[in-house]
Each structure stands twice: as structure tokens, then as C-alpha cells.
């Protein structure tokens, strides 16, 4: 749970003291600079949407945990400028989807959204369900770099309209990896490689391709 601890350390300084050994507390800023890099170099913009994906356990304890999470999100959504919704997928996983609101800079948005995810993750961890958290997923969209240009770039236009980048943070390996689905079966490995090459200097990425498991039918 290092990532969320690191994130939390940044937000609540009093817990930072007790977790001094995990002093790698730059993760949230790394995420912000990662989003800046993606925007600048690949024309990928944080879509203001990210989610926590959690395996559902039947029973009251888990239900209470989720209620606590929504309680926290309800009281903090004004201050941190976001909305959220809950979704259950066909694999019986619960998605807590955070939608950031417009702010002057994109870095502020991703920082707030990540903070909301980190506090949610922390509540789940406090209740002893940390093993149920599968991943945190950040969505990026291609924006049209050649918007004002009359030149029609053969690949880019069709590409930008269809594809999203999902930056998946694997909760068990503490690493990020890219996932760009083309459809339900195929993925754009070549673009994913570009993302990896750009991000590996700013965030901890999964360099073992065999662990880049897709998450199909992401509900946002």
C-alpha cells in the first residue's frame, strides 16, 4: 500500500511523521508531472476521471467500509472539487469513479482526484480490506494537436477520436503500466511503449511486459 501511504503523507502531514520510513512522498507530484509530460509530448490530457477498482466481498463489514468511503467522499467533494459515482461490473468488482471539476490547471485536477482516491484507499485499508483493492486507474484522452491546421494527418485524427490511455496503478506491485485498448481484444502496444518510455523517468513503471494485464470494458 506504499503508493497510497505516500500520497497520504503528502496530504496529511501528521501521518507523515509516523511513516517516516516510507518517505518517498513525491508520488502525487510525480503523477502531476507525469500528466504534464503526457500532455506535452504525446498530446494526452488527463480526462479528469480516475477510479479505484475493488473486489466485492459479500457481508456487512465490507458494506460498512464502502459506506464509510462514500461518507468521506461526500464531505470532501466540495473542498476537493469532484463528483463521484459507484459502479459494479460483470466481474463483481466495485468501481469508485471520481470526476474532477474544472480548475485553473490540470495539475490541480489530477492532484485533487488522486488525493480523493488515496483517502478512499486508506479507509479501505484501515478496515482491513487492502487486499481487495485491485488497482487505481487514471484516464487520459488524446486531444487533437492539429486542431487549427488544415492538414489532415492520416493516422492521428481517427486515432485521437477513438482511443484512451488508461494509466493503471497495480496495487500489488506498486507500479504503473499503460493500457490503450483498441477494442475488446486488441491493444495499441506501440503507443503503450511510447508512454512507458516517457513516463519511466517520473513514476515507477512496470517494466515487465508480462504483467501489463488489460482491464476490459472500463466503465468510464
Amino acid at each position: 500500500m506504499k503508493f497510497f501511504k505516500r500520497l497520504l503523507n503528502k496530504i496529511e502531514s501528521e501521518t507523515a511523521a509516523s511513516n517516516a520510513k516510507h518517505d518517498d512522498s513525491d508520488a502525487i507530484f510525480s503523477l502531476a508531472s507525469a500528466s504534464l509530460l503526457l500532455e506535452e509530448k504525446l498530446g494526452l490530457k488527463f480526462s479528469k476521471t480516475a477510479a479505484l477498482c475493488i473486489k466485492i466481498i459479500n457481508g456487512g463489514l465490507f458494506k460498512n467500509t464502502i459506506n464509510d468511503c462514500t461518507g468521506l467522499l461526500d464531505v470532501s467533494k466540495e473542498e476537493f472539487k469532484f463528483d463521484y459515482k459507484i459502479f459494479t461490473d460483470s466481474f463483481d468488482y466495485l468501481w469508485i469513479i471520481i470526476n474532477g471539476k474544472d480548475l485553473p490547471t490540470n495539475s490541480d485536477i489530477i492532484t485533487n482526484v488522486a488525493a480523493a482516491l488515496s483517502s478512499t484507499g486508506d479507509i479501505i485499508e484501515e478496515h482491513g480490506f487492502s487486499n481487495q483493492i485491485l488497482s487505481a486507474i487514471f484516464q487520459f484522452k488524446f486531444f487533437d494537436i492539429h486542431n487549427n491546421s488544415t492538414i489532415n494527418y492520416k493516422n492521428d485524427n481517427s486515432y485521437n477520436n477513438k482511443k484512451n490511455l488508461y494509466l493503471i496503478y497495480n496495487y500489488k506491485t506498486n507500479n504503473f503500466y499503460p493500457y490503450i485498448p483498441i477494442d475488446n481484444v486488441y491493444r495499441d502496444a506501440s503507443k503503450e511503449l511510447q508512454v512507458l518510455s516517457i513516463l519511466k523517468s517520473v513514476i515507477s513503471v512496470e517494466e515487465d511486459f508480462s504483467k501489463w494485464f488489460p482491464i476490459k470494458g472500463i466503465p468510464f
Partner: protein, 297 residues
């Protein structure tokens, strides 16, 4: 499911290496026999020079013959030709001949004495699995080998090792003749000659492999510069080596149940294996290409 083309290929490389090694071995044996028969320094040098020149001159024919690659015209493979034409016209190189080998295993190689008379060969398996951008990357890699005159570099490197070996050999024979005790020491002296020759050959074997690995990196680099798309070549390398096969298609939520997959260690090849290989590991090449990609943006 694993297709034959996804397996790590060694077929073509092994065939080329075996052919050239047998030639080298024959040559070494022949010269050793001549030297042992007491032929003079000058005639032996002339004979070896002829051998090396012949091997260099016919290297492309030997390579094409051993891989069953056939020269094809622009009518047979128009898109392949135009792809190569576009690269060579951008880099101001003469157009090489193009050969295709009917082989399911994806591979490509370049051969020839210099930019003027060279051949770029691809297998049908390569044409099947790569898209245009990836194929362009692979072709640019082979064209960089031609541009850098890598065949000549390796031939020259082998030439130096051969000369070193012969000087050593003659040194031994020289002291042998002047010693005047030829008959008595004959057997053991011959053994020493063979051993030293073997040691020299072995050392040059590793050195040539080190040079070759370095040439591979610079060909990757050249290809990335020619095409401007290092990630595409990295992608092609992933496909050719079967690394692409390792990018999973099963959903994370499906595999999550089997917790075991997290502890499978990445397969690492030993440094011993690396010493023997003429190509750096695909992982290292991909890593370098991706670093280039990152620095380009």
C-alpha cells in the same frame, strides 16, 4: 496458444554461423597443414590473402545460398521495394538488391561488400507479422548495417585475428627450426601450435562477438534516426522475438484469482550466454530504443 513464428528464432542465424564457421575451420586446418609441411612465410601469406578475399567476395552468395533467400524484383514485391526506395533516397544510399526467403520465422538480414553491391533479405514470416512502420524500422536497421559497412568491419576484425594467429604460429616454427632439435620435439611442438592457434581463435571469437553486438546497437540507432520512429522498431523487435507474446491479453480481474502470477520472476539470461551472442538481448535493445524515443519527444 503459441505460433511457430512467436518462438525465439535461431534458425537463419545458426545456418549462417555454421556455414561461415566451417569455412573458417577448413581454412585454419589448410593453412596449419601447409605451415606444418614447411611452406615458406610468403606463399602462406599469399594463399591466406586469397582465401580471405574469396570469402569476402562471395560472402553474400554464401549467405543467400545458406538461407535459401532469392533476389526478388519490384514486380514481385512492389510495396517492399518502394519502402526500401523511400529510405535509401532519404539517406542518399544506392538501392540495394532485395531478397525474400520463404520461411515462417520472422527475420531479416543484410549482406554484401559495401553500399554499392548489397542485399537486404527478409523472410515471408516477417512480412506477415509486421505492419508498414515496423517493417520500415527493420529495413532501416539492415540498411544501416550496409551504410556502416558492417560486413567489412567484421571481415577486417577476423582478418586481424587471423594475422595475429599466423604470426604466433610462425614465431613457433622459427624457434623450432633454429633450435635444430626438430625431430625430437615434433609432436609436442605441434600440439602447442594447435593450442595457441585455438586460444587466439577463441579470443577473437569473443572480441568479434563484442564488436558485432556494438554494431547492432548502432544499427538500431541509425534505423531510429532514418525513420524517426524508435518505438516502432522496438515494437517490431518485440514481435520478432516473441516478447509481444508476453504482453497479456487476459483481464487483470480474471488472473487476480491466481495470486501466483505475481511471484513469477522475470527470466534473466546469464552473462555467459551473452558472451556468445552476436546480438545484444532484445530487452536491452528495446530499452535503448525507448530511451531514444523518450529523448526525441
Amino acid at each position: 496458444m503459441e505460433h511457430s513464428w512467436q518462438k525465439r528464432d535461431t534458425g537463419i542465424t545458426v545456418r549462417i554461423i555454421i556455414c561461415l564457421s566451417i569455412l573458417t575451420l577448413l581454412y585454419v586446418i589448410f593453412i596449419t597443414v601447409l605451415a606444418y609441411l614447411g611452406l615458406g612465410f610468403i606463399p602462406i601469406m599469399l594463399i591466406s590473402a586469397t582465401f580471405i578475399l574469396a570469402q569476402w567476395f562471395f560472402s553474400d552468395k554464401i549467405v543467400l545460398w545458406s538461407t535459401h533467400a532469392k533476389i526478388v524484383t519490384s514486380h514481385q514485391y512492389p510495396s517492399l521495394h518502394s519502402l526500401v526506395e523511400r529510405i535509401v533516397s532519404r539517406t542518399n544510399m544506392p538501392m540495394p538488391k532485395i531478397a525474400v526467403a520463404v520461411n515462417r520465422i520472422p527475420n531479416a538480414f543484410a549482406t554484401g561488400k559495401g553500399p554499392g553491391s548489397s542485399v537486404v533479405a527478409v523472410t515471408t514470416g516477417l512480412l506477415e507479422i509486421l505492419d508498414t512502420d515496423e517493417l520500415e524500422g527493420v529495413l532501416a536497421h539492415e540498411l544501416t548495417h550496409i551504410k556502416n559497412r558492417d560486413v567489412m568491419v567484421i571481415t577486417l576484425a577476423s582478418l586481424f585475428s587471423t594475422i595475429a594467429w599466423q604470426i604466433m604460429q610462425f614465431g613457433f616454427y622459427g624457434s623450432l627450426y633454429s633450435g635444430g632439435s626438430r625431430d625430437r620435439n615434433n609432436g609436442s611442438a605441434f600440439l602447442i601450435v594447435i593450442l595457441v592457434a585455438f586460444a587466439t581463435w577463441l579470443l577473437s571469437f569473443f572480441i568479434i562477438r563484442a564488436i558485432s553486438r556494438y554494431r547492432e546497437y548502432s544499427a538500431d540507432r541509425g534505423a531510429a534516426q532514418m525513420t524517426g520512429k524508435p518505438a516502432k522498431l522496438a515494437n517490431a523487435l518485440m514481435k520478432i522475438s516473441g516478447t509481444m507474446n508476453r504482453v497479456p491479453t487476459r483481464d487483470l480481474r480474471q488472473v487476480e484469482g491466481y495470486n501466483a502470477f505475481f511471484i513469477i520472476p522475470a527470466i534473466s539470461r546469464s552473462t555467459f550466454a551473452n558472451l556468445f551472442s552476436t546480438h545484444p538481448s532484445v530487452e536491452k535493445r528495446i530499452e535503448r530504443l525507448l530511451d531514444m524515443e523518450a529523448s526525441m519527444h
